[in-house]
Symmetry: C4
Subunit: 322 residues, 4 copies
Amino acid sequence: MSVIQRVIDRMKPGEDIGLDHVGQKGRQRSINPDGSYNLERKTGRLFGNFFLFNWLITTSWTHYSIVLVSVYLLSNIGFGSLYYLLGSENLYGIVGTSEFDKFMSCFFFSCQTFTTVGYGGLHPIGKVASSIAALEAFLGLMVFAVATGTLYGRFSRPKARLKYSSKVIIAPFKGKTSMQFIVANEMNTVYMEMEAKVNISWMEDEGNGKSVRRFQQVKLEIDKITMFPTSWTINHPIDEESALYGKTENDLQKMDIEIFVLLKGFDDTFSQTIYSRQSYTSEQFVWGAKFLRPFGVNSSGKLEMDLTKVGEYEKADIVHLV
Amino acid sequence: MSVIQRVIDRMKPGEDIGLDHVGQKGRQRSINPDGSYNLERKTGRLFGNFFLFNWLITTSWTHYSIVLVSVYLLSNIGFGSLYYLLGSENLYGIVGTSEFDKFMSCFFFSCQTFTTVGYGGLHPIGKVASSIAALEAFLGLMVFAVATGTLYGRFSRPKARLKYSSKVIIAPFKGKTSMQFIVANEMNTVYMEMEAKVNISWMEDEGNGKSVRRFQQVKLEIDKITMFPTSWTINHPIDEESALYGKTENDLQKMDIEIFVLLKGFDDTFSQTIYSRQSYTSEQFVWGAKFLRPFGVNSSGKLEMDLTKVGEYEKADIVHLV
Amino acid sequence: MSVIQRVIDRMKPGEDIGLDHVGQKGRQRSINPDGSYNLERKTGRLFGNFFLFNWLITTSWTHYSIVLVSVYLLSNIGFGSLYYLLGSENLYGIVGTSEFDKFMSCFFFSCQTFTTVGYGGLHPIGKVASSIAALEAFLGLMVFAVATGTLYGRFSRPKARLKYSSKVIIAPFKGKTSMQFIVANEMNTVYMEMEAKVNISWMEDEGNGKSVRRFQQVKLEIDKITMFPTSWTINHPIDEESALYGKTENDLQKMDIEIFVLLKGFDDTFSQTIYSRQSYTSEQFVWGAKFLRPFGVNSSGKLEMDLTKVGEYEKADIVHLV
Amino acid sequence: MSVIQRVIDRMKPGEDIGLDHVGQKGRQRSINPDGSYNLERKTGRLFGNFFLFNWLITTSWTHYSIVLVSVYLLSNIGFGSLYYLLGSENLYGIVGTSEFDKFMSCFFFSCQTFTTVGYGGLHPIGKVASSIAALEAFLGLMVFAVATGTLYGRFSRPKARLKYSSKVIIAPFKGKTSMQFIVANEMNTVYMEMEAKVNISWMEDEGNGKSVRRFQQVKLEIDKITMFPTSWTINHPIDEESALYGKTENDLQKMDIEIFVLLKGFDDTFSQTIYSRQSYTSEQFVWGAKFLRPFGVNSSGKLEMDLTKVGEYEKADIVHLV
């Protein structure tokens, strides 16, 4: 029975990583460096898979601010226009003789209503203007309710600020060889009960000119740590069962390797389970190297971690290649 | 020992799906297509099992908006009436000579107080009107506090937007037969660590003219996937232990089959565990078909999923019927 | 080896229910009917184990409303007094000649500032009054921020509305005897993946005039259900390993039995794990009875559950007493 | 095979506590008494690992209040200066003849706009002042939205208020010796499903003048309790596999022992998983002692816990030292 067969057998009826669709040549990488999925979705609907709140929570601060300011401006331009069209006899306090000045008075009255600041220097006269103002003040409060909720949502959503080494190294390890990368905690939060899952995928020749993508969840020296305050060198000892066993640097390029990393932990500042995804491709492999420790004890005896040093390595001989 | 007996034995002392009450003929389906439970609850209390917040969170946007607007209107009609009944000497700025105009002034004053816009063109005179206004402004703020909370609750509650195939197919699979349906992720969110549980329920003749409903949790080829970015074909290989083993299309109709699907996963945008429920009945079975893949790699090498194609199938011969 | 010894062995090094302190005679029941713990805590600190937010979230609506209204009233009495003491020349719009009327004007100005309604009919004159008003408006907004947060906290906190039968019955079950109680879901929410843990505690004579409290986690016929839409009869078959094996109704009284029930599930409306605690004492036992089913299929084929019938039972012979 | 070797073997491929960096002499303790991690992080970025919301949520109430008040004051000084620089003809209602008085009017107008109180005694004239005011009211509402969110975040974040005994005792236990400490629940909340993990770390001589830090996850008599209403004596029986086996009080000092405690539980008031960390060093060991029970049943039969007595102990002979 081949190693691959054993690997496949080991995966049944167990767990799949939901990635069998990446089994085609010439594809782009599956997971972007920022952890998002490199995928396009066609929905056949006008707004597709757009969900307002999810977008407001996950978009950049720049986009979010533009949306907030636009809603404020457009609402006031809209309501301002309504008051203006009603005629200046419906608002007390309109100043200016030009039409633009009158419109601006209406616009500012709208702002004062929407934000409920309501100085009163401008105020509605008559039932129609008063009704519109009553509606606008209500809508204004609703908009600020949504802003409050989305701001909280943005702030409180799970954040796993982890710094991954830019390279995967093939390193000497206890007289054998292992594949390693390093990940560091960038937050002051101590993540609890971290778990790592690492999958290797590669193209395999099926003999008839066709090749097929294979997957293997690899064994890790340590796949769980109770606390994650600093950094973690994730270490896959390359033993006989590993898909990397006996391979050369050259083989790796041909195999079109992609490494999928999934980390899971618990952020007890916010009582949230956090996930972090990463992928490495063949070009990110370094043969014969050793990561430098990014932390040490400083002169006052306090532990110190230097995040800028996470992923730094030095050359090392691999003692045992097969 | 019959297969059924073995199945029942296997379920003890294990897990039950909480559905033994569906064991009667002529019943409607247990789970509605939207995932809700087809059940009526009698409580013997006036408001029954009505819990305000749960309702405000789970009701449709239409109902929610109607409630919000109604609370606003009714509060202002109520407080407006109070000010009106007090007499117009208690409000500065009342205009109009007809009683209706005076009431409307009171109504608008109420709106300006409830939203705390308080222009001041209208303001209370005297201790009684001022006291009522002080109360109304307080209540208004409380109502907007509830609106803020319920809007956030509505937006942030767990959403599993999954698209299920409308059919369950009986398909060829590795030289044997399997039951399959497909489910796709409609969100940009990548759900993590999805698990599937599928139960079959059917009516069984007990011999004495009575029949009883039986349940079986069926084996799945893959019952867990680590990441769920695109779609998942859930596959029950029909082996000797399956309640479907050796059955014909006709048998299934007689057995009054219902398939219960429960999916569980983790939405790491909101750090929430999500569940999705679905049921299929005999009429949704298609014999001898194969699902088409709803995704592929497009010309630029990027993975693309077409949600409109989820559940599309083509005819296929079942190689092995028993 | 006695049954008890085996039971105790089975519990080691496993799980304890955190209740060994209830091992004294003459004690009150450990868990109140509302699921709270019957315990007094002495802290040696002035405010003891009082945490403001926890209290605001968990107290009754009556207490919560009283606190809110009191904060509003007392703040305005306080700030109103400050404005009054400053002198009426610091507020524009003070009316009335009596000192009480002047104070009331100050009080209403305070209300209008605290709620930010700010009509302006009353407004501050001079730097001192303006400064106090600027502070008050800021504090008012902070108070309403806390109100918004606590209202949301109250509404969104996990609620397991379960109705327990008022009795535990000793019932015939598959030709043997079992201990049963019933629990029903009062919400429209379908709780997912419910688990039950039932512990029996009893006093045992140690022979030397002393007696000691023992605990046993009992075996349940079904201890997990996947979905909990309606009701669940929790069933402990009294076999040789059970502490109740061979006991009579009279024995139970002497043993000072208390049954501890812990249910755990998942409310997927709010993505929250919910727990429910209950305890039963000897007086709540009924010998020889059978629970009636609280649900059925109505004339239109729809499942119907009657919550008022949960816990109703009829007399039944126990076939097998030992 | 030495005990240590067996211990290390037992930890593979299992769990690591993420603390191998503490393996240096002369270091400070790893976990501060308040449960935080004694670690310094260098990031090479200007704001380092500073995340605004995390800081606003986790900082002290004093710092939080200072930030809130500063934002309010500085915003109003800023906007007030803008209005002042525009000139007094742009604000209606400016009083005073000195420049300082005019600035203060502008400052108070700013406060009235920022809080949306908007009395109107002061109000903007002209397009420039009105535009700035429209912006300020909008920003003011955003600031209060952030305040609402952060207040809620502060209140609702997981709190494990546990009181640990200040000492670890080496106590007689069932005719042998055990290491014990006690932890009590300070809240009225009953924590559910508590789990304890205890690791011992010590320096070990490697023979060549170098010493290395070792870790052992120790066996506990009870490592899980279902409910945690009162207190829990965490008990490590010192058997042959324990790193403490056969050690004397003197040995412990030389070994530079540090005990790491991790407790995990579930707070069902807020549906949050909570963690609590603690460490003990050699100086906190007491040889030959027994903890006193911090609870009892009072005269009315009600259970009573005295938190001030948690950790009190009396001298006791250790029956069995090896």
